[in-house]
Symmetry: C2
Subunit: 336 residues, 2 copies
């Protein structure tokens, strides 16, 4: 019985929010392996806001996904066949496996998963690119010092929730901005944030002044737009803004809005710096070990929002932009 | 004969471009000195774009000039009377002497001028705050490395012209953006820039791609607006943007325009950082000595645009915003 693969390819480039017709669901036989290749059965796919950028036809840090190609996605899978001496059937790996059931890889870019450290979903969440983004973005780009006020937007989201908890581990004050009372309660009672601001019901600028009376030392931005401006308006001297994402702008059909008060960087001798997690790839194993230890000590929690079935992708992906998901959004493609 | 002082005070806060009626020209007797005070005869006043910010009613790095008070201005003067043991009649000093003929000071913030190093106007230009801004902004905030492409806007201006020349001294490629063919010619033949872009007649984005085929490593921004966006669109990986000013925005009556493509910071792992020269005050003497040596070696040139007469201030100040001035704009108040 030859194996059959199902996958989503990019049918057309979305304008605004991606629609069902922008995707094609394709069935194909799985071909034989060549020398050095492995066949990976995809188990868990990470759904990330960055994917919206990958299907836009513009210069970025990776080329756009071509029309007709399988949609790019980070995922966790299990090696089922191997013609590569570095991998054996039964190994768990993560990598850019794509939005599909089976991925054939030459092994480059695959990372081994030590499944004794944590349950598998954690490896596409807190111990995956999501957690790495939070870890290196906050610690390397944000340079938090004990006692600093660290503010993060999309704080109940996959990256934001980890940023706030690492800030606490490092002796900072953690302030989260999230949408809705339930998420705000979770930040404080569930994750130990010092303060939470509900952007849906509060004036974020005024609330930030209250929560950070001495100003914001580190602002980790996942959203852009007016919340970035509210943070700029409340910077402490020498503040660091980490530019990790701008989800409020990703589905814009008009022009992106730039931060009108960016001259606050001058007034406060502050910086705004972009980060990309892939630059830290050589240090991922060290970070995974440290994060796993924090999890074992109960200092670091993560929540996964798991949607079952590859075919659910088009609707599930939109949850990232409507604010519906709560925790790391994962598409479960197959049982282990 | 008691001395008489003339000064400009702020009569009202300008909306848009400052007008004559925003200023009051006031005559007053010079009072006697108290203990520890000095009387400074103002000779040369530095006219700077930053002064537009000082009369805006908003939180900044210094409090706004109050209505009815003498306009804040950096200047060079000569001590004519001293009740302060640190200063003697005949000493030259620079400091925030204000837009007036005589300043009474307690000596705090006055810096001694070693007039053997260079002619006096240089001390409110390349050896004054202007030059210090270029020196510390480029070297400390911009962190140029030999071989880098360093781009500066308002390049024929007081700060910009020094930035480009220091970039050359440090082994970088210097690209200046200025308004008009004459200024562009001056950058190349007069100051040794490698390339000059005339924003009045060229598409700055396209011209930057041509002048910096490997991208912009350091962009020193004096102007903001569309030129900042053109630089953001052409960054090299790991680029540094120095936010020194935003002269295109200072007389806006509408909202400031933020850089719409600031997410280029993420794509290029780049940073945008504000700088204020006053933070480096303790290192000014060292920088003045180094800059004076470069001048003596013929590696660093500066051009001063000197307007005679304190009463010319209201019109002279506007030259900064219309692009009419060429080199450092100085108001000469009195002969030495």
């Amino acid at each position: 019985m030859p194996l059959v693969n199902h996958k989503f390819t990019l049918a057309s480039r979305p304008v605004g929010m991606p629609k069902r017709e922008n995707w094609a669901y394709v069935e194909e036989p799985v071909r034989d392996l060549g020398t050095g290749e492995v066949l990976v059965k995809v188990l868990l796919i990470s759904l990330d806001p960055a994917m919206r950028g990958w299907i836009r036809d513009q210069r970025s840090y990776v080329p756009p996904v071509p029309i007709g190609e399988v949609m790019r996605a980070l995922a966790l899978g299990k090696i089922v066949r191997s013609e590569n001496p570095k991998f054996s059937a039964g190994d768990y790996v993560t990598g850019t496996l794509g939005l599909q059931e089976y991925c054939i890889s030459d092994g480059k870019g695959l990372m081994a998963v030590d499944s004794r450290l944590a349950p598998l979903p954690k490896f596409v969440s807190v111990l995956g690119m999501t957690g790495m983004t939070a870890y290196f973005g906050l610690l390397e780009t944000g340079q938090p010092q004990a006692g600093d006020s660290v503010v993060v937007s999309a704080a109940a989201g996959a990256v934001g929730s980890i940023v706030g908890q690492i800030a606490k581990i490092k002796g900072c004050r953690a302030v989260g901005i999230a949408g809705g009372a339930e998420k705000c309660r979770y930040l404080i009672s569930g994750l130990g944030f010092d303060a939470a601001i509900d952007y849906k019901s509060e004036d974020v600028g005024a609330a930030l002044r209250g929560a950070c009376p001495n100003g914001v030392n580190v602002y980790f931005d996942n959203v852009g737009g007016e919340i970035l401006e509210a943070a700029l308006a409340n910077l402490a001297r020498g503040a660091r803004i980490v530019i990790c994402g701008a989800i409020s702008q990703y589905n814009n059909t008009g022009a992106t809005v730039g931060p009108r008060n960016y001259m606050s960087l001058l007034v406060n001798r502050a910086s705004m710096k972009g980060m990309l997690v892939f630059d830290y790839a050589s240090r991922f194993p060290e970070a995974v070990r440290e994060m796993a230890a924090w999890m074992a000590e109960g200092k670091l929690k993560s929540r996964e929002d798991i949607v079952n079935g590859l075919e659910k992708f088009p609707e599930a992906f939109l949850k990232l932009f409507t604010g519906e998901n709560f925790g790391k959004l994962i598409l479960k493609v197959a049982e282990d």
